[in-house]
Symmetry: none
Subunit: 222 residues, 4 copies
Amino acid sequence: MAQPDTVTRILDTAEVLFAERGFAETSLRNITSKAKVNLAAVNYHFGSKKALIQAVFARYLDPFTERFHAALDELEAEYAGRVIPLEVLLESMAKTVLDVPAERNSLKVFMRLLGLAYSQAQGHLRRYIQDHYGSVFSRFSELVRKATPELPEAERFWRLHFVLGTVIFTLSGLDALRDIAEKDYGDHVSVRELIRRLRPVVVAAMNAPLPDAAPDSLPAAV
Amino acid sequence: MAQPDTVTRILDTAEVLFAERGFAETSLRNITSKAKVNLAAVNYHFGSKKALIQAVFARYLDPFTERFHAALDELEAEYAGRVIPLEVLLESMAKTVLDVPAERNSLKVFMRLLGLAYSQAQGHLRRYIQDHYGSVFSRFSELVRKATPELPEAERFWRLHFVLGTVIFTLSGLDALRDIAEKDYGDHVSVRELIRRLRPVVVAAMNAPLPDAAPDSLPAAV
Amino acid sequence: MAQPDTVTRILDTAEVLFAERGFAETSLRNITSKAKVNLAAVNYHFGSKKALIQAVFARYLDPFTERFHAALDELEAEYAGRVIPLEVLLESMAKTVLDVPAERNSLKVFMRLLGLAYSQAQGHLRRYIQDHYGSVFSRFSELVRKATPELPEAERFWRLHFVLGTVIFTLSGLDALRDIAEKDYGDHVSVRELIRRLRPVVVAAMNAPLPDAAPDSLPAAV
Amino acid sequence: MAQPDTVTRILDTAEVLFAERGFAETSLRNITSKAKVNLAAVNYHFGSKKALIQAVFARYLDPFTERFHAALDELEAEYAGRVIPLEVLLESMAKTVLDVPAERNSLKVFMRLLGLAYSQAQGHLRRYIQDHYGSVFSRFSELVRKATPELPEAERFWRLHFVLGTVIFTLSGLDALRDIAEKDYGDHVSVRELIRRLRPVVVAAMNAPLPDAAPDSLPAAV
DNA sequence: TATGAATGAGGTTTCATTCAT
DNA sequence: TATGAATGAAACCTCATTCAT
């Protein structure tokens, strides 16, 4: 038959619906009926709804991890022990992020899923991601550490998450924001266009001056 | 009686549970049983689960809106027609955000709710927030516009949301991040401390150089 | 105050809603909110929903009974022992039915209620009507008996109900039927006009020839 | 297994309970517990309570429609273009009505349901019946029109509904009426017996003289 | 006399999951 | 390998009624 097999149909449908509505708001019935698949098929093929959610993530994160490791391998070979500049690291990550879902033409979905992973993660998902993909993030963090030797450890940690927040928040809420931007400014942006806009902001954020060291005089500082 | 009335007990319980688990994952039973209140009380006092969600938001946003308008009034009076600098505007907002829930000692909850509003908003909530609190945000945007005349309209729009993403993402995921930071760096941060760290990053992000104007050479531009 | 008191407002609203939707489909909330009356008022003034239903009927049936008794008194006086013709009896009843609700201008509601009493009566209502208004119907039946001596007892009983069915069915479904009649035949009828049409039919029905006496050969007789 | 399948058990139980108590007064719990079936089974097999109600009707009306069309086909063939007399038409309808539920031995239930359809129809049911079974009724009306050429259009419309009221009202309230008849006149009637009694009445009603044409002189005309 | 608050029961519907085939 | 049927739990909501004031 020309149409993809059951497992693929379920995954394709599930990722779209999850991205649109979230996990709890998407029922297995929604998925199976839209995928034109038997209701019991999800439990048969995946075991449970939780396992399906993880499988949806794995389909993006497995190739991402593989490619990102490869990209970092290349960079390390290229720089041969010398420090890899922050911009280069960020660019490498961005390129990988853009590449992975390109095959499925659904970067937006990927980003929404990442956003959901943070905002809706029911524990099992957070654990799953940590267990399966923590290593590549650790490796990247270590390289960022070398690229920003002037930053205190804790400061770097926080700034990486500041930046992560910007990226995930923006890309996962893209549709809504894009609608507003287009209506108000006639500005229609693609994901790639948006990433172009993100680059200088992210770099500036990472390189921002350190805050005043006075945690006591807060009322005035805020 | 010493214990607060039914409506308050419901709201107090609901906001905590919503913040912890999200809207769909929190049932009215969860709320009413934890609040030691009759199951039907929610529908009696609020009409529906949707209306309860909105009421939870209103309890934060109503005072926030009022105070923020007042703070902006003060600033406009103080600057008497002159441009209010970006840092001052941001500081004013931060101060208001910090003040409002202080009475209830739950900034974290407020931020989690804001995060949910973006990631889980089921339409009705987004509409509600837009309708009820859009005006104060518009006013703030307009002041930011005057404070950053060099930024193109669209660019400013996006950067404001980049920054919003940073703030909401960080503050709403605060607990998890704080745990990691403490374990790995012995760095125990308070919310105020975190905001101190956010300040230079946010300012730098808003003032970052404009991106290259080349939307076509994307592969290289990331 | 110009507006009627609580009890009246409840009754006025209840009869309309009952007539429109039926008893079970009309909640006390529907009634009290439309009547702009406190929810507890029904239970306070009437004791229960059942009692309210009975009160709604009583407001029509009490004056009806009284007047019908009076009308029959007059007829009996006028005919002084002689048989009162069937047409006269029917006409008297029709006149009374038309008169009673005239004050409230809602014959239709009265008829709908009568229809409901038959089709939806939950026992308590059937009993209530039987207990309170059985006597006047018995008196009328007895007069009809005298007016149609040629009819076997059982036959008369059934024919009275045949006719009752026609009247109640037609008048209680009047709105829907009138819409169809108007659309299809440009025939806009008033209640009085309809009753004019009913008269010869009812008389013909009562005077129809007796059925073949062959209850055994049914399959052929239908 | 000897016992019928779930769908049939639900339908069998539902039609009895609906007929006894009405739609709103019969809960799905009533049905499923009496049918010894899981509560969710109704929604699984029918989708909603409304759909179940429609299915209950369809089980009667589908075969009725089919057979009635067939019966009219036969009559038209037999009369070969000549007018089919009113009595023949009515007899044909009565025969079909009696035949259909015979298999299920529950004419009474069928009649109660028809009565409910008129008195309790919540819109959705009236629409459903109109959509699905309007055509056979139209065909019958047209034949009646030819059989009663002397009747004005509007008059025929009303008389058909007068008669319909008699039939539905009597047959749907049969149990109560039968009890009374038996108690008062020792007259125990079967449905078939009752239909025998209805025949001359219905014919007489349809053939009644036209009413006086005086819609103005109402008080006297009643 | 009247009412706002509250309650327990029960309504329909949807859920993820299991089972027999 | 796959599926239609079925299930128990739990979801949100509405109900008539009661109670303290």
